[in-house]
Assembly symmetry: C3
């Protein structure tokens, strides 16, 4: 479950929908201007600290901006050892992973990474990107199709190749894969059908951007990741 | 056409449905206990010998258990030079193929291999697995999806990537590819639709687990593999 | 928009449907006999020269026969520096691209290449084939499926893997990808649906073999490639 990094009110409410994990987002949910990103960082840092204190058993992650963006380095100041991990969008190579590790290490951090594969290069290099400390991966259909110059459709046929490839690479790497966001907020049946597709392809869960999606996702994916892991 | 390795009666009846080839199965059709596997081996060895004698023009193969299983080595005792080949499930790498060759050679055998690609690693490494003496390949959807942690659906969308990839790799290797088993035994139309999908993707034939499926498969795939080969 | 290399009348009419580019075809549109190919070459050379003179702002390309065919070397005599490029079908490797470059250079030509990926090897090696001077790529579904030994269907599911893979590799190489030909000449809706699939997958345009298809393709793909490029 994602919440915008600049909305302390929404971040505080994140536990209400009982998600498996929450992501405080400094990337897509925050306007791409230096001022907006800077403001979000200070809000997110405090809100993350409060959330970890209020919900000690909840996995709290922060999504920073992409390594190649001008915001990445400053975003790292939001990270703390109390987080369950850092979400890095648009990872494209093993080199990118090394860059993240080095940047974390320079701040004394060793957080596990949730890798976002959502560009042509990321999907093509899916196998090599999923090296430790990458501990989870998500496939981002909207950004992938934008990068390709394609068009999103409700049936997802245009991402079946990439969505399948990422799930397969994740299995080889031994990391759980999280399925695409459903951006249309109406339509429980559409969400469920989308979730069933992802589950059939081997995804372990689904990224949610609205509290109502969490229960729907649990309905389709069933067990929590923790239970799923024990069952393996 | 497959028959359980522990059922001499069914093995003897295999020629009745006029399949292109038959497989005496020591793997999935036999319970995974040392006792059941041992009992199946002695039944299968005699039944294979009788079948080769009774139907000298029929291609008779034996499916052993996977290289990584505790049954593989003992299964090799069932193989004889009279067989048309050995079916090895869950092959995952060129190293696996070498291991099979070495094990066969240590018993003075040089049988061609039908490779089962039905795990994440097998599908990912499809091209490198298909080296001589691999002479045929099959894609196993049930095991593949189990390995991925996915869910099988009637439309097969969740295996379209893997099923396409295996057919493509088989063409590059110059070996015929055999399409997925249809496990639902009711529904001729469902079988035919499944077979049409496989044929469209470039598969040369289909694995059958019920005598009634053989005629349906011939109806969709038309020519026998031998005729097909001559036409190339 | 394609026209047969042996039909001066059709070549002269090519600009009428206002295509983005035209291809004078010495390959599939000309019977595969030495006599027919030789006759087409002299017709095509004159017709190309006249077309370039009559429509100086139109991109005129010539499709030669495949590198491995007995016609390739002689086809090069049709090429001139005035052409916008040479279309080379059935490219399969970086070595093939080098062979084309060398052959062009031996005639003092440095034309950009439109690469046809339409065999098993071409699709598998898609990424390595798309090196300069490859400036565009097209995916050929009919030839690909023939090479695989499969069957074409109206829904294109049997080529979704290959069509997706080529679009992805093209994005990585930074070259526009052109989508499959629709061979059924009836059915505007079928053409539009096919074009929408291609556009969703990231294709920048569509190969057309009938003048009526050009307007339909523009209707679905919208901007011309030139406009598209400026927008990036
Ligand atoms: Mg994004
Ligand atoms: Mg199995
Ligand atoms: Mg062709």
């Amino acid at each position: 479950m994602f919440a915008p990094g600049n909305r302390a009110d929404l971040i505080a409410k994140l536990p209400r929908s009982a998600p498996d994990a929450v992501v405080i987002d400094l990337e897509d949910a925050v306007p791409a201007t230096p001022e907006a990103k800077a403001a979000a960082r200070s809000i997110a840092r405090d809100a993350a600290r409060d959330l970890v204190a209020a919900a000690p058993h909840l996995a709290v992650l922060v999504r920073v901006n992409a390594v190649a963006s001008p915001y990445f380095d400053d975003d790292l100041a939001v990270l703390t050892p109390e987080l369950a991990g850092v979400v890095v969008p648009k990872l494209e190579s093993a080199g990118d992973v090394t860059r993240v590790m080095t940047a974390l290490a320079s701040r004394g951090l060793t957080l596990p990474i949730m890798a976002g594969l959502e560009t042509a290069a990321g999907v093509w290099n899916a196998r090599e990107v999923m090296v430790p400390p990458v501990a989870w991966v998500y496939f981002g259909a909207e950004d992938y199709v934008t990068d390709l110059g394609g068009v999103r459709t409700p049936g997802n046929a245009e991402v079946l190749y990439a969505r399948s490839r990422v799930a397969l690479a994740a299995r080889l790497a031994g990391v759980p894969a999280l399925d695409i966001v459903v951006t249309r907020l109406q339509g429980e049946d559409a969400f469920r059908e989308d979730a069933r597709q992802g589950r059939a392809l081997g995804y372990a869960g689904k990224l949610c951007i609205h509290p109502a999606q969490v229960a729907l996702a649990h309905g389709e994916f069933g067990a929590t990741p923790a239970e799923r892991e024990r069952a393996h």
